[in-house]
């Protein structure tokens, strides 16, 4: 009984963290068709922003939920103006340029923070369920990603800003004819995507020891989740992260964490072979 509760929490946690990791990339790829391979480094910078702010005496939740997304969003804004905006519509080139950016940020972080592990303690203590110890922070992550997904849905589906953004992504020429500047909308979208990446990195920072190269651990998972999700932004994100999260946890409990990761990757390969357009390319068509 206790064990099944623990496993249930772990599965929810795995799904939530996958969704959290992938949200920023999903916004940038799903809406702008730009694959941001520097996504992992945006997360890494979110983590560093949090840790630095906490060391300066800021409340940890303020640092995670407000300061880190803002700083990373601003960095994303600069990146968009300098590099990405010249490459819209050239998928492979954006991948290469953002890969270059990711190397650049790794080098930058190494020069500023050094090649050592920094970390902060988790702000929420764990508690015992029967014989098992559960990390209370897991619930916080599940909560954050649920709120995030719901607010993304509400923002895109019900508000005027969301409507304009979706319209621009579908037909930027039409949006321009109606008087909205696609250039600015792309800029704002990229800002939001980067801020989401920063938020994800910040929220996950207390769980991992941060090194300048720790972005690499996220990018592949995020990339796979987003591509496997397919064209619908939020439904795709939820369906693919649920699938991969469950597969990952089953194999983690069954065999070992390494096999959990390997099983996730293999299931992604099989899924893409069967559904080359992603889950929502086949099911839930036309949903958000």
């Amino acid at each position: 009984m206790d064990l099944s509760f623990v496993i249930l929490v772990e599965i929810f946690y795995a799904v939530a963290s996958l969704a959290l990791i992938s949200a920023g990339l999903a916004v940038v790829f799903g809406m702008m068709k730009v694959i941001n391979l520097a996504h992992g480094e945006f997360m890494m910078m979110g983590g560093y922003a949090t840790i630095t702010a906490v060391h300066l005496g800021v409340n940890v939740f303020v640092a995670m939920l407000i300061i880190a997304p803002l700083i990373v969003g601003l960095i994303g804004l600069v990146v968009e103006r300098l590099v990405i905006r010249h490459l819209y519509g050239r998928l492979v080139d954006t991948m290469l340029a953002t890969w270059g950016l990711s190397l650049f940020f790794i080098g930058m972080a190494t020069m500023i923070f050094g090649n050592t592990t920094t970390s902060i303690t988790t702000p929420i203590t764990g508690f015992a369920v029967g014989d098992y110890q559960i990390n209370g922070y897991n619930f916080f992550i599940i909560f954050v990603s649920a709120v995030l997904l719901i607010s993304m849905y509400v923002l895109l589906k019900t508000t005027r800003i969301g409507l304009i953004a979706r319209g621009t992504m579908q037909r930027s020429d039409m949006a321009a004819a109606l008087g909205y500047s696609p250039d600015r909308i792309y800029m704002a979208t990229f800002f939001c995507g980067s801020a989401l990446s920063g938020l994800a990195g910040a929220v996950l920072a207390p769980l991992v020891g941060l090194v300048p190269t720790s972005g690499g651990a996220y990018i592949a998972k995020a990339f796979i989740t987003v591509i496997a999700g397919g064209p619908s932004l939020i439904v795709g994100l939820i369906s693919s992260s649920s699938l991969f999260g469950v597969v990952n946890q089953i194999f983690t409990f069954g065999i070992s964490p390494v096999f959990g990761d390997v099983a996730l990757l293999i299931s992604a390969v099989i899924l893409l072979r069967l559904l080359p357009q992603g889950v929502t390319g086949k099911f839930f068509k036309g949903k958000m």
């Binding site: 340029a97 270059g100 990711s102 790794i106 390494v258 080359p276």
Partner: protein, 345 residues
């Protein structure tokens, strides 16, 4: 046309021999060997990406697979000829299976990138965690994060005690690169290569002409993997150790950067890009003021933004603009020329 090719080939051989002979005067052969190996690795991706249009994010997988195959086989066999052959065939077979799975599923661009990247990651994670004593192939322990040291290095075929190392290894690698270069040249001039370029330009049109695009892409992919495997085996001989780092994302990224910087759609470009950037990295590694990765990142971003075609095509078109006017061809003719050039590289 074939006569001018003959003259070109002769000139290439002469230039290559002079370079092979001259370069050790400038750079130590130990460094040169690895530059040559990287050149071969870059050429393997240059072939499938630049001429076949297959962007593989996991060329490092085949490189690492070649190196590991060599190391494991060398420990079990105790000499180097069979392991070298295996190190070419195992990655090629692996790539043929992977390629068949991808191309017969009609996966393209981004999805192809994801799958090759994922496969590289799977290999990396698996090899990285294989430290336990249960991971044994024959007599070779996989060794996990520590890699496999102490295997039998390259020897003269048939004489297991006559090791090839130091200067001799450099000449072997350089000649191997030259051989691979001519293999690629020959391949691209054959009808197979021409159709591969056709597939890159317009896949639908080629398949409507009745060619089996999927099989051709799979074969090209396997050939690229074979070359990468050979490079991996030579790298294992040079480093005398193989580690999971060979499979890492960073390694894959570097191969792509070499190709972009050197020039896609050329044979010389990737080799020059690889050797040049690897040497630059070697030089940068000797100072500690600026981080190495940072400079590599800046180089990649700048090239994508300002010189997306790479150095070699840019220099070639500059050369043509300043010296090529005499031929007096009109623009239509020039366009035809460019296509032939991209075919000839």
């Amino acid at each position: 046309m074939s006569r001018s090719w003959g003259r070109q080939d002769a000139a290439t051989i002469v230039a290559a021999i002079v370079l092979i002979w001259l370069m050790p005067l400038l750079i130590s052969t130990y460094t040169l060997t690895v530059l040559v190996i990287y050149g071969m690795l870059a050429l393997s991706l240059g072939l499938i990406w630049g001429f076949g249009g297959i962007l593989c994010f996991g060329q490092a997988a085949f490189f690492g697979l070649g190196a590991y195959t060599y190391a494991i086989a060398a420990i079990n066999v105790g000499e180097s000829t069979l392991p070298m052959i295996l190190a070419v065939f195992v990655p090629a077979l692996f790539a043929a299976l992977l390629g068949a799975m991808m191309f017969y599923g009609r996966l393209t661009d981004v999805y192809l990138g994801v799958i090759t990247l994922v496969v590289t990651l799977i290999l990396f994670k698996f090899v990285n965690s294989s430290a336990g004593p249960q991971y044994v192939i024959g007599e070779a322990r996989l060794g996990g994060f520590n890699g496999i040291p102490g295997f039998h290095t390259l020897n003269i075929p048939g004489q297991p005690d006559e090791y090839i190392w130091g200067d001799a290894l450099y000449y072997v690698c350089a000649v191997a690169l030259l051989a691979v270069y001519f293999l690629v040249t020959w391949l691209l001039r054959s009808s197979f290569g021409r159709i591969a370029i056709g597939i890159r330009e317009n896949e639908t049109r080629v398949s409507l002409m009745g060619y089996d695009v999927r099989a051709r892409k799979t074969i090209l992919f396997a050939i690229g993997a074979a070359i990468a495997g050979l490079a991996g085996a030579l790298f294992a001989n040079w480093g005398e150790i193989v580690t999971p780092g060979l499979f890492s994302l960073g390694q894959s990224a570097e191969i792509i950067i070499w190709c972009i910087v050197g020039g896609l759609g050329t044979r010389l470009g990737p080799i020059i890009g690889a050797a040049g950037l690897a040497y630059l990295k070697f030089l940068l590694g000797q100072q500690s003021l600026i981080d190495n990765t940072l400079i590599m990142g800046i180089i990649l971003v700048l090239f994508v933004l300002f010189l997306p075609k790479g150095i070699v095509p840019a220099v070639a078109s500059l050369w043509k603009a300043s010296f090529g006017r005499r031929s007096g061809r009109k623009s239509a003719g020039r366009r035809h020329m460019r296509r032939v050039d991209s075919a000839n590289g």
